[in-house]
Amino acid sequence: MSAPALTTLGVSHTEIILTSVCALLLCGFLAPFFHNREKFFTSLFFPVIALASFVSFAASFLAVGSGLTENYLISAGLPGLPFHVRLDPLSGFFITVVSLLSFFVSIYSVGYVKTFIGRQPISVIAVFYPLFIAGMIMTLLANDAFFFLMGWEVMAISSYFLVLYEDRNPKNRRAALLYVVMAHVGALSILLSFAVMAGLGGVGQETFQGYTFDAMRSASHTPFWAGVAFLLAFVGFGAKAGVVPLHVWLPEAHPAAPSNVSALMSGAMLKTAVYGILRVTFDILHVSQLWWGELVLIVGLLSAIMGVLYAIVENDLKRLLAYSSVENIGIILVGMGLAMIFYFFHMPLLSALAVTAALYHALNHAMFKGLLFMGAGSVLHATNERNMENMGGLIHKMKWTSAIFLAGALSISALPPFNGFVSEWLTFQAFLMSPSLTSQRLNLLIPLGAALLALTAVLSASAFVKAFGVSFLGQARSKHCAEAHESPWSMRIGMLLPAVVCLLLGVFPSSVINWMSSTSSLLVGETIAKSASGFGWAWLTPVAAQRASYSAPMLLLGIISVLVIVFITLHARKNAIHRVPPWDCGYGGLTPRMQYNSTSFAMPSRLIFGFFFRLKETVKTDLFHKRSPAFPGKMKYSLRVRDRFWGLLYMPVIDAVFRMGKLTAKLQHGRIHIYLAYSFATVIILLLMVL
């Protein structure tokens, strides 16, 4: 390990991060005072946030690299329970992820937020955007339940207001409401989980000391209560992460927010939930039961497959991205589930492999999903359109955006040499290690999970072929798409940087794994850093070179050299290129409406996996001739795809609450005699109790 760079200078990493958190909070509080100089303010404000994020990124990045752990106390909070802060490799890793993305998104925001000037008050976004980032970092830094929940809810509430930013649209309002309610359910569940771990751990019965994570770590939990705590935490964090079936809010809320916020919500906020699960299961509860891992694995697979299927059939670009987040969170959970299973069977190296895969994917997802949402925002900015059915041909108008979006699409589709492939490959490797488990049942079942994951990977590629193909390629399907324009420079830079990072993460995986080795050691007590680069830095060999190896630099080099050679050879002799109209089957005149659109592209998948959706398909035909159906006139086709879980899980609960509400209305008839009778009855019943 290299010596912690900043510590030698006498500066604490934690303090640096806390300083940038304070700067962010301060930004949020000061923002309302600038509400009448919006343009100037935006150009000044977001660079400051970007700077704060970058500082926090740098500090946490160095901290993770050197593997240090720092504790810190802020004397505020509840009596006897000051805010405990701890920067360890786990929190450091996630702070790196969050603040790096915030850095990119903040640069992007400079240009993006300006588009709202004159339409919406900027101050709202200026207040809650930094608070949101600060909330995430606070959550990650927290080392006690109270501070954790504080950060958690600051994050949730500020993002709620950001989702509500364009509040004139009733859809956004509905999304925000659903979001905030689900977030609260999750937060309460987490709170309870902490209460179980603190209260029933036997430490600090009548003081608050039990609420520090340190106390929870050292407390001994009975298997039953440990299970309860795990389950509560999983539900709570799962609700935030958007795992199926707690995901319903996600595809509503993420698209409703302004795109820079969507990028942060999908890219960064979901990671805090991943962090929470890791923290609770590995660090605090030490994975004491096998079923935890199995549950996480199954839920992960379910989320992955459901998420990607819904993504494929989605026509709204941002909703597609949101559903794809559900999928990616599923993939992260799969890695975590495997890690938990291996950990339970005391296979630290394999566990480290799986957990590294999960962490790597978390990092990757932050980058490419942030990038893609920013891309979608750029499109939205240029065309005012979220529906892919009205897009098309944007590649001609928005060269930068389309190229960057393509990079993101390649990454998320797990194609080498981009980063998405590395983490999926590692996850597959973890799957392939399952035969070394001693449980026959798992031996037989886990490979099926791997198959499902493979299905997910290609479906996701398919979804992004559709997303990129329908929105950027082909001919423009609407007038404003034909008149689109490229985004300002700040937005392009904000998108370009993560694209570069995506490529770097894909090409140099060994270095990244080396960097995050301290995190994996903290979680499972082992790291794959040594074996991963055992064959040389250019080869990634997770366990051993004999087992499996992958070399992104070699592949990249190979493909590029083939490309170059072929290109040069072919262009040695000039063949003329003639621009001609595309082949129209001889009918004359291709119109944009003849293209395959988003709905038709998804049709095969929709048919094959129809069971997962609630489809409502109607074809209305106006008869040309009233008497003869043989000559149909206009046909109108409409399709509605709904989430099955809404009807299965949510509607019954909501209905039941409303029904109960109606029952309680009967208590209050307005008749004073009845009210008096209640009091009378209360007295009598209580007196009977003493009798």
Partner: protein, 221 residues
């Protein structure tokens, strides 16, 4: 007066108070209610005086006098004046029919007796037996408020409850400390005044004193 006689007298008065409570439950006419209420106050005041005399507690005389003044003279008068002014001498319609109410009342008395039985054993005061009656009076007053429709009858029910409380205070504890007694009396007086104001307000805004008209504020289900 010897101790024994005063006990007997007090018990006798307690019986009367209970009787008047039942009479209040049974009475249909407002004017009749007022008269019975005044009688109840009178018995109450008498009982206080007897306790004061027997136990030789000065300030109980004051509360006996207060009771006489308030419950027998002032309050019935105010109500009487109100009834006259608003011209509401019609019969009062009970929500629950009277025999049923009486049966519930009997059950309440038995219940109160049973409830206070163990407590009674503990007390050293000669008036301890009357605690059951006091509790019954309170509960019967409560019952009356529940079963009557008109605002004025609710007021009388409320005041009957207060009578029960007073009776409890004097008989069970030889009266509360004077400050408290005075304060309570003051509160009741203000309450009665507010009742008066209210009955006017209700009359003017609703054009009736029937409480069934006042059921607008409720939850729609």
């Amino acid at each position: 007066m010897t101790h024994g006689i005063s006990i007997q007298l007090n018990n006798f008065l307690a019986a009367f108070i209970l009787l008047t409570s039942f009479a209040l439950l049974a009475q249909r006419r407002i004017y009749g209610l007022l008269v019975i209420f005044a009688w109840q106050g009178f018995f109450l005041s008498l009982s206080s005086a007897i306790v004061a005399y027997t136990a030789d507690i000065r300030h109980l005389y004051v509360s006996a006098a207060l009771t006489l003044l308030l419950k027998v003279i002032v309050l019935p008068y105010i109500l009487y004046a109100l009834i006259n002014k608003l011209n509401i001498f019609r019969e009062v319609e009970p929500l629950v029919n009277i025999p049923t109410t009486m049966l519930i009342g009997v059950a309440l008395v038995i219940f109160s007796y049973h409830l206070t039985a163990p407590v009674r054993e503990l007390s050293t005061l000669f008036t301890r037996t009357t605690l059951a009656v006091a509790l019954s009076t309170v509960l019967l007053g409560f019952l009356m408020m529940i079963t009557r429709k008109k605002a004025v009858t609710q007021v009388i029910g409320f005041l009957a409850m207060e009578n029960g409380l007073f009776f409890a205070a004097t008989s069970a504890t030889y009266g509360m400390p004077l400050v408290v007694e005075l304060g309570v009396a003051l509160d009741i007086l203000i309450a009665a005044l507010i009742f008066g104001i209210f009955i006017f307000q209700i009359r003017t805004t609703f054009d009736t004193l029937d409480l069934t008209e006042m059921e607008k504020l409720k939850e729609d289900s």
